[in-house]
């Protein structure tokens, strides 16, 4: 096989981050407790440089390398940049939590970087095999991260559950992939797409494989009825891990859906559209209704994630470029909102106090008006109230869904988002209308405060100027 070193250029971000994660792993071994900050700083620097390299190698054209198993296109560039940005923000908050709870260890960041590498591979996959590879790298890192706090029983339980269900999901996905390989004889997305186009779509084996593919995807996204792991993992995992699972990997899962269903199997759109409609409607219904009953804010956010996943799927199932754009916009917006909500939980926690009960938020406005305001932005954004960016995310998705004539689905979506509004404004009620129950001053390091402020206000700024973020998404599906 002829090797051309220029084919390595599109893969530079992944190569760099892989090199760095190996280096950091070794460096971390030789550091003693007092120098642990070095690991953290190196992690942040490598992510920043990765963003830089991604921008450097980005271009409007599509490049496929490694014998059709790796693709670099505007979508992968955009998603990688946002995965890295959101992860950087998540690491700032994580450091805050780990320091507060005396768990500041290097392996958290190493595992995190491996997970990010997995996400980047997923985003840039051009074949079923490489996407599975990326997914497993991501998942295995996350399983380990959930069990990060060795002494926590709920943490270990959550990790076990996550691992079991995740393994089943991977099995489903792999089984589906093998079916599709059997039906088409290919594993590359473009070859599969052309095989589907020539052989027609009434191939039972193909549709059978698609069902398993969608099940695997739904597991990873956390769509109903494959959502069972989400509340337990969010609840049981340490807050920074829940934050990490809930933010950037959703972007990767979005890429998973686009790569498999759109790049590979767009010919079967009529088949997967119906499946996604069921998943999306169930997710929005169950997520929004069950979230009302939660008293733990992490659990509540898990159910809220399920409902957001429903919205992300709505955009994809429209099956038009506009739909994919709106869905990508939604996924990125969701990542920003999720990381901010957990950031506030972390900033608000202290040693021996997780701040994960809803009642802990009573009177937050009295204790810290500024961060209460940030939480207000997050909640209104998640509820989809303008002028926050969450509204535009919902608007674009509804737009895409109505444009393909699924007005009824749009009506169902807005109906459940009304129900959703209730539990979001309940948080605001607790923060603003109730008196505080404890008066411990709000303590967070300066970098957390700054990042949190930027993160929170960005929801409003992006809401006033959504065109900037939208242009990145439109470039991805030009």
């Amino acid at each position: 096989m002829h090797f051309d070193s220029s084919t390595l250029i599109p893969v530079l971000p992944e190569i760099f981050i892989l090199t760095m994660v190996c280096l950091i792993m070794i460096i971390d071994l030789f550091l003693d407790e007092s120098q642990r900050q070095t690991t953290y700083l190196l992690t942040q620097i490598s992510l920043a440089v990765t963003i830089f390299i991604t921008l450097l190698v980005s271009s409007p054209e599509t490049q496929v390398v490694f014998d059709g198993s790796y693709i670099r296109d505007p979508m992968s560039d955009g998603l990688k940049v946002f995965i890295c940005i959101i992860s950087m923000v998540a690491f700032v908050y994580s450091k805050e939590y780990l320091l507060k709870h005396d768990q500041f260890r290097g392996d958290f960041f190493v595992l995190g970087l491996f997970a990010i590498l997995g996400m980047m591979v997923m985003v840039s996959s051009a074949s079923f095999l490489s996407i599975y590879l990326g997914l497993e790298l991501l998942s295995l890192s996350l399983y380990a991260m959930v069990a990060f706090d060795r002494d926590s029983k709920t943490g270990s339980e959550a990790a076990m559950k996550y691992f079991m269900l995740g393994a089943i999901a991977s099995g489903m996905l792999l089984y589906g992939i093998s079916m599709i390989y059997g039906a088409t004889g290919h594993i590359g997305f473009s070859e599969v797409a052309s095989a589907v186009a020539t052989s027609g779509t009434d191939n039972t084996v193909l549709v059978f494989g698609l069902v398993f593919l969608v099940i695997g995807l739904a597991f990873k996204l956390g769509a109903v009825p494959f959502h069972m792991w989400m509340p337990d993992v969010y609840h049981g995992a340490p807050t920074p891990v829940a934050m990490f699972i809930g933010s950037a990997p959703k972007l990767a899962a979005f890429a998973l859906a686009i790569r498999m269903l759109v790049d590979g199997l767009e010919g079967l759109h009529a088949d997967w559209q119906g499946m996604l409609i069921i998943l999306a409607v169930l997710s929005m219904a169950l997520g929004n209704v069950v979230a009302i009953a939660q008293t733990n804010i992490k659990r509540m956010l898990a159910y809220s994630t399920i409902s957001h996943v429903g919205f992300i799927m709505l955009g994809i199932l429209a099956g038009t470029n506009e739909g994919y754009i709106s869905s990508m916009f939604y996924a990125i917006t969701y990542g920003i909102m999720a990381v901010c909500s957990f950031g506030i939980i972390i900033a608000f926690s202290r040693k021996g106090f997780e701040a994960d009960q809803l009642d802990d938020y009573k009177g937050l406005h009295e204790r810290s008006p500024w961060f209460a305001l940030m939480m207000l932005f997050v909640m209104f954004s998640m509820a989809g109230v303008p002028p926050t960016v969450g509204f535009f995310a919902k608007l674009f998705v509804l737009d895409a869904v109505i444009s393909v004539g699924l007005t009824n689905i749009a009506l169902i979506a807005v109906f459940f988002s009304i129900i959703g509004v209730f539990y979001y404004i309940r948080i605001i009620k607790l923060m603003y209308f109730d008196k505080p129950v404890d008066d411990t001053p709000f303590e967070a390091s300066i970098d957390t405060k700054v990042v949190l402020s930027v993160n929170g206000t960005s929801l409003l700024i992006l809401g006033l100027f959504p065109a900037s973020l939208l242009s990145i998404c439109t470039a991805a599906f030009g």
């Binding site: 406005h365 002028p387 109505i402 007005t407 807005v414 009304i418 509004v421 209730f422 009620k429």
Partner: protein, 505 residues
């Protein structure tokens, strides 16, 4: 006509930015926040005045237009402009906002800067609602309005504020999201979110009826019309005085404005088809809610119910036009009907604001809204009593006050539609007089009821200023409504023109 500088943008953004600056000033010295807010509110009012002086009443075209792309991929624009329908409402908003700030001067002591800022931001957003000509921009302002109001009622409200404010938020949010779906649907028919292009859109009757119902859910909740009015008494009772004033004087008008800007011109055939529904809802509001007001024990609740009854007049005026135009010997009745509704909106803006401020004056002194805890207030507060009686009279529709003009126009027009509408609408003159004057009798007149009343002191200069300004406005509009009617005449006639043409392809 377009001015050389963006008046509308300035009127929207000045109070919003001013509000943020007030928060930045903070509560260390509350007086700074107060004066700053007053300065911003007065400046906004002054800036909005050229909208009236520079307005060309001879055309139905949009004026002071500002247009720039906002989200070009979805063809959403930052598109502002006013016509004779929206311009008076903008001036009303900027005018009333000054009094809201002044009324809170000494009363609000808890987090003053946030309170003032919430009202200023609210003012900007409300002006935005009235001036937006892009449906999505309209919707953004429309929903954004809920956030400050939600906080105002929830933070500074009465004992049952949490229930009231969540009810308020969910009701109005529920109403509006279906409008969002309708707007997106029309976007795909028209190719843009330009409201004026919606006006010329061809829609089948079936589509029109569905869109009409979506709009109705949004606007009827806001107006509010019977039977979706139940959030209003709760919200009013719990809201601080300023919140009640803004709710009654301006937010309710936004519902009425929505009918004129969206429902009537976009779905005229559906409106004509379903006008019986709106008319009966309006008449029920006028008569039944009037009786409900009669039995209230709480002053604020009484005024809240009277607001619902008065807004019933507005919607009655707007939707009677189809029956009037169907009547062969009524040529100008329809225009009269629309004008009556508009004048009623503006007039109710002044009167309800004044009534709530009157209750606020009493509440600040006695901390009670119960009618039964008052009596003989006139003996201790003669000036206040004079104002309160005056506003009560105008609320009841006394000739010479603005309350009379709108009601009279609507009743006059309703004769052209159906005698019984006129009959039922006219009963409000009796019921309205009954509940308002009976309340005034029990509160203001009679012997001094208890020792708390005996300790009351008459209104301060600040309160006199507020009430006197509003009294002047009410009188001026009542004696000489000409200027107001003139600016809106051409726009309303143009609207009528739109409505009379079928939109069915």
């Amino acid at each position: 006509m377009s001015a050389d500088w963006p008046i509308l943008s300035a009127t929207i953004w000045l109070p919003i930015i001013g509000g943020l600056m007030v928060i930045a000033i903070g509560d260390k010295n509350s007086n700074n926040a107060r004066w700053m807010s007053l300065a911003v509110a007065v400046m906004t009012f002054v800036i909005s005045l050229p909208l009236y002086s520079g307005f060309n009443p001879g055309t139905a075209e949009m004026q002071f237009v500002e247009r720039a792309p906002w989200i070009s991929y979805f063809n959403i624009e930052y598109y502002l402009g006013v016509d004779g329908i929206s311009m008076p409402l903008i001036i009303l908003t900027t005018f009333i906002s000054i009094f809201v700030i002044v009324a809170a001067w000494e009363v609000i002591q808890y987090k003053v800067s946030y309170y003032m800022a919430a009202f200023l931001i609210m003012e900007g957003i409300m002006v935005g609602v009235f001036s937006a000509l892009d449906a999505m921009l309209f919707y953004v302002f429309w929903e954004a309005m809920l956030i400050p109001m939600f906080l105002i009622i929830g933070v500074w409200g009465g004992p049952n504020r949490v229930y009231a404010t969540i009810k308020f938020f969910l009701y109005t949010f529920f109403g509006s999201v279906f409008m969002l779906v309708a707007l997106i649907y029309m976007y795909f028919q028209a190719g843009s979110f330009d409201i004026l292009s919606f006006h010329t859109l061809k829609l089948t009757l079936n589509e029109q009826i569905l869109i009409f119902i979506a709009f109705l859910m949004a606007f009827a909740v806001k107006v509010p019309m019977w039977p979706v009015h139940t959030w209003l008494p709760d919200a009013h009772v719990e809201a601080p005085t300023g919140g009640s004033v803004i709710l009654a004087a301006i937010m309710l008008k936004i519902g009425g404005y929505g009918f004129l800007r969206f429902s009537l011109p976009i779905t005229p055939d559906a409106s004509s088809e379903l006008d019986w529904l709106i008319i009966s809802m309006s008449l029920i509001a006028v008569v039944y809610i009037g009786f409900v007001a009669l039995v209230q024990q709480d002053m604020k609740k009484l005024i809240a119910y009277s607001s619902i009854a008065h807004m019933g007049f507005v919607t009655l005026g707007f939707f009677m036009i189809f029956m009037i135009t169907a009547n062969p010997d009524a040529s100008t009745g329809a225009l009269l009907s629309l004008q009556g509704g508009m004048v009623q909106m503006i007039s109710h803006g002044f009167i309800s604001a004044a009534m709530f401020l009157c209750v606020g004056v009493l509440y600040d002194r006695m901390h009670s809204r119960e009618i039964s805890s008052y009596g003989g207030v006139v003996n201790r507060m003669p000036w206040f009593a004079a104002f309160m009686v005056f506003f009560a009279m105008s609320n009841a529709g006394l000739p010479g006050t603005s309350g009379f003009v709108g009601e009279f126009m609507v009743i006059l027009a309703s004769f052209r539609a159906n005698f019984w509408f006129a009959f039922l609408a006219a009963t409000t003159l009796i019921i309205g007089a009954a509940y308002t004057l009976w309340m005034v009798k029990r509160v203001v007149f009679g012997e001094i009821a208890n020792e708390n009343v005996a300790k009351l002191e008459d209104i301060t200069g600040r309160e006199t200023f507020i009430l006197a300004s509003l009294a002047v406005a009410v009188l001026a509009l009542g004696v000489w409504p000409g200027p107001l009617v003139d600016v809106m005449e051409v726009s309303l006639a143009n609207l009528l023109q739109h409505v009379s043409v079928t939109k069915i392809p």
